[in-house]
């Protein structure tokens, strides 16, 4: 055997020995209690492609990329925003405590590990199992407290706690992560529909218009959200608009009757968000020459959005013949 061939054999033996040593010192078995520590949502994809695809493109996934958020946070130079938009796992700081920001995987935003990585490094979920990532069932996992870490920064879970939904045990997940079929069983949907979903928004409110004598009565009810409508602050607003049509058929200009919104920080004004189950009614005198009235309820992702732009969603439109 030549000298180089001997070296090659020796190196192969050393390599095999090293691999063996690594194997015995660091178990990587599927169901091992010393399971490998997951470091990226990409690792979840192969076993949970449907869940991964739902999350991909969700507002959790784009939390650190969304141009609207980046603009409001001064491109995350307001570093504290990063704690919720690019968080380390909730388990690292514990339920009801603030998360800390991470620097890795910026395109994953609020990722699988944020919620599913347990304190001991194992994966937690609704149900336990011995296969795949060997998830451990965790009673706290689906609790409101898990969402509260970030979503109570703007008091949304406080609003929920004060509502009848909390008393009746209807939680965040019942609306925002509904149960869906998964294989032979079921699981939770991971799109996290909220204010960017028109259907979800329309389920949150009812909007009515009627006439009482010479007045138009326009009512908005938070009939479907388990928190204020709109919730969050600054960026979200809901506007009630009306206009009248004259006898000549010409439509008047749209007038804003009311705005539901919480003022931002020291901004003057009252918090007019509509609490869960509450109704707000506006009365408008009907002009003498009006033959028809129209009312619209718009949802604005930011208070500067105008009718018809991408940040505005028309939720309801009502019409009433007056003559």
């Amino acid at each position: 055997m030549s000298l180089s061939a001997r070296f090659a054999v020796a190196a192969a033996v050393v390599a095999a020995l090293a691999v063996f040593l690594r194997t015995i010192t660091r178990p990587v078995g599927n169901a091992s209690t010393e399971a490998r520590r997951f470091t990226s949502s990409q690792e979840c994809r192969s076993c949970h492609p449907d869940v991964f695809d739902e999350w991909q493109g969700s507002h959790h996934q784009i939390a650190y990329s969304n141009p609207e958020v980046r603009r409001l946070s001064d491109d995350f130079r307001n570093k504290e925003c990063q704690a919720c938009h690019l968080p380390r796992p909730v388990s690292e700081t514990g339920l009801l405590n603030r998360t800390l920001p991470r620097m890795t995987r910026p395109d994953e935003g609020v990722d699988c590990l944020t919620c599913h990585l347990g304190a001991d490094g194992r994966i937690v979920g609704m149900r336990g199992g011995a296969s795949g990532c060997a998830p451990v069932a965790d009673a706290d996992f689906l609790s409101v407290s898990l969402c509260e870490t970030c979503h109570n920064q703007h008091k949304t879970t406080d609003q929920w706690r004060a509502s009848s939904y909390a008393r009746e045990g209807v939680t965040c997940n019942d609306c925002h992560m509904p149960e869906v079929p998964r294989g032979a069983g079921s699981g939770r949907r991971h799109v996290f529909e909220g204010c960017h979903d028109p259907q979800m928004l329309r389920r949150a409110a009812t909007f009515e218009m009627r006439r009482e004598g010479e007045e138009l009565i326009v009512s908005t009810t938070n009939s479907g959200a388990g928190h204020n409508f709109p919730t969050e602050e600054r960026h979200r607003a809901v506007d009630v608009l009306v206009r009248f049509h004259g006898q000549a058929g010409a439509a008047g200009a749209w007038q804003r009757l009311y705005r539901f919104r919480q003022p931002y920080r020291d901004e003057p004004g009252e918090d007019t968000q509509l609490a869960a189950g509450a109704t707000h009614t506006e009365r408008v005198p009907i002009p003498p020459d009006a033959v028809r009235a129209q009312a619209r309820l718009w949802y604005r992702l930011n208070p500067f959005a105008v009718d018809g732009d991408a940040a505005s969603t028309l939720l309801f439109e009502r019409e009433l013949e007056l003559r």
Partner: protein, 421 residues
């Protein structure tokens, strides 16, 4: 052969007493203690707000002094009484939230004249929140009268906006007059350039020093801001960061307490404050170094040590770059460039060229390399990511923007101060 085995086994696991990826023996010990109550005690040095009746009287005086509804004689008399009142500062600070922009402007102006530096933190916060052009100008002017020139870039920007020029001009004249500066010509550009120069000089003078006990109310107010870091809501964190990173004299004693606090958010967010201070936070580098042992705070401490330019941290960063903890590797790769230690070029280049290294680390290594190395390898790598779209584009753009900002600043320094022969 032994070496081969060692190399192949590299990263088999860290001993329980070892701080992963760092030379634990060379780091100072981490000594944390509960400091929240101590800061609360310092914060209690602030005078209590006046009672309900006194507040109402003071609000009435503010109204009569500055409201457009009051007659001139009444305004003069009311202002005299207001300024003679022992709680004048409190009344004027409350007036910064008045619904009328004119009242807010007057209150800011008077706060500047009053000369009580206790108002600085509140003025800094209001400057950030104020949307009205005129009140914002007068708040910036008041801060300047109290020795804080942090608002000058905003004022300079206003000079480029025809809608804001009229409101900004009297404040600009006042600031330049107090600084005894006369621009070569009276154009918006020349005034803006003079403000920019003044701001640069102010930034260069900023320093970290113990908060003086001769101003207990100011010290108390700053301590109260740090107490807010531990709260659940992030709003107080924003407030504290906004104020501390715009102070002329950063209270190093209070920040040292926060950095060595057992309370984790107090510790982590004060690290963020020091990071944002950049070179002005250099005296706090020593207090940051032990935090490389802190399992919660160390990635943030790494970044902050880089930004303040604490050179003794460099060897630890090079080790962390090769470690197992991805967050620490990314933090170290990010920090080596701003730290400015040229010995890091070789390990950074090795990290950048190793295709097996996670992209998070390579991208940050490229950034740091671009900070340190005149060749375009680092920046070229970042631009390639942007072209290929294979890494988070906003992060790449932010890093490229940072490089451009730093280079612009360096060019400005070179132009201003030619190197001695």
């Amino acid at each position: 052969m032994v070496l081969c085995v060692a190399a192949l086994c590299g990263g088999c696991g860290d001993g329980p007493d070892q701080v992963a990826g760092t030379s634990a023996h060379t780091l100072p010990p981490l000594e944390l203690a509960p400091h929240l109550d101590l800061l609360r005690a310092i914060a209690s040095a602030q005078p209590a707000p006046p009672d309900e009746q006194a507040r109402a009287e003071l609000a009435e005086l503010v109204e009569a002094s500055f409201s457009s509804d009051a007659s001139e004689t009444m305004q003069q008399q009311a202002l005299e009484w207001l300024l003679a009142h022992e709680r004048a500062r409190f009344a004027l600070e409350e007036g910064l939230r008045h619904a009328e922009p004119g009242v807010r402007s007057h209150c800011a102006y008077q706060l500047g004249l009053l000369g009580d530096r206790t108002a600085i933190p509140l003025l800094l916060w209001r400057e950030r929140q104020e949307q009205g052009i005129e009140p914002a100008c007068w708040i910036i002017g008041a801060l300047a009268s109290l020795g804080n020139l942090s608002g000058l870039p905003r004022l300079a920007t206003m000079l480029t906006d025809s809608a804001a020029q009229a409101a900004a001009t009297p404040v600009v004249d006042r600031i330049l007059g107090e600084a005894r500066r006369t621009p070569p010509e009276r154009t918006w550009e020349a005034l803006g350039a003079e403000l920019a120069t003044l701001h640069e000089e102010w930034l260069a003078r900023r320093r970290a020093a113990p908060a003086t006990e001769e101003e207990p109310a100011l010290r108390g107010r700053l301590a109260a801001l740090l107490v807010g870091l531990e709260e659940f809501q992030l709003r107080p964190v924003d407030e504290a960061r906004t104020v501390f990173t715009r102070l002329s004299v950063v209270p190093s004693d209070l920040l040292r307490l926060a950095l060595s606090a057992e309370e984790r958010y107090l510790r982590v967010h004060s690290i963020e404050i020091v990071r944002e201070l950049g070179r002005a936070g250099a005296p706090l580098g020593e207090a940051l170094l032990p935090l490389l042992r802190d399992p919660v705070a160390r990635p943030y401490a790494v970044e902050a040590l880089g930004e303040v330019g604490y050179a003794p941290a460099a060897p630890h960063f090079v080790e962390l770059l090769r470690g197992e903890d991805l967050e620490l590797r990314v933090a170290a790769a990010s920090a080596l460039g701003p730290l400015g230690d040229l010995s890091a070029v070789v390990p950074l280049r090795a990290t950048l060229n190793d295709a097996t290294t996670p992209m998070d680390v390579r991208v940050r290594a490229a950034f740091s390399l671009a900070c340190l190395d005149a060749s375009d390898a680092g920046e070229g790598f970042l631009r390639e990511r942007l072209d290929r779209g294979d890494y988070h584009a906003p992060t790449i753009r932010e890093l490229l923007d940072r490089l451009e900002r730093d280079r612009r600043a360096a060019r400005a320094i070179d132009a201003a101060e030619p190197l001695p022969k």
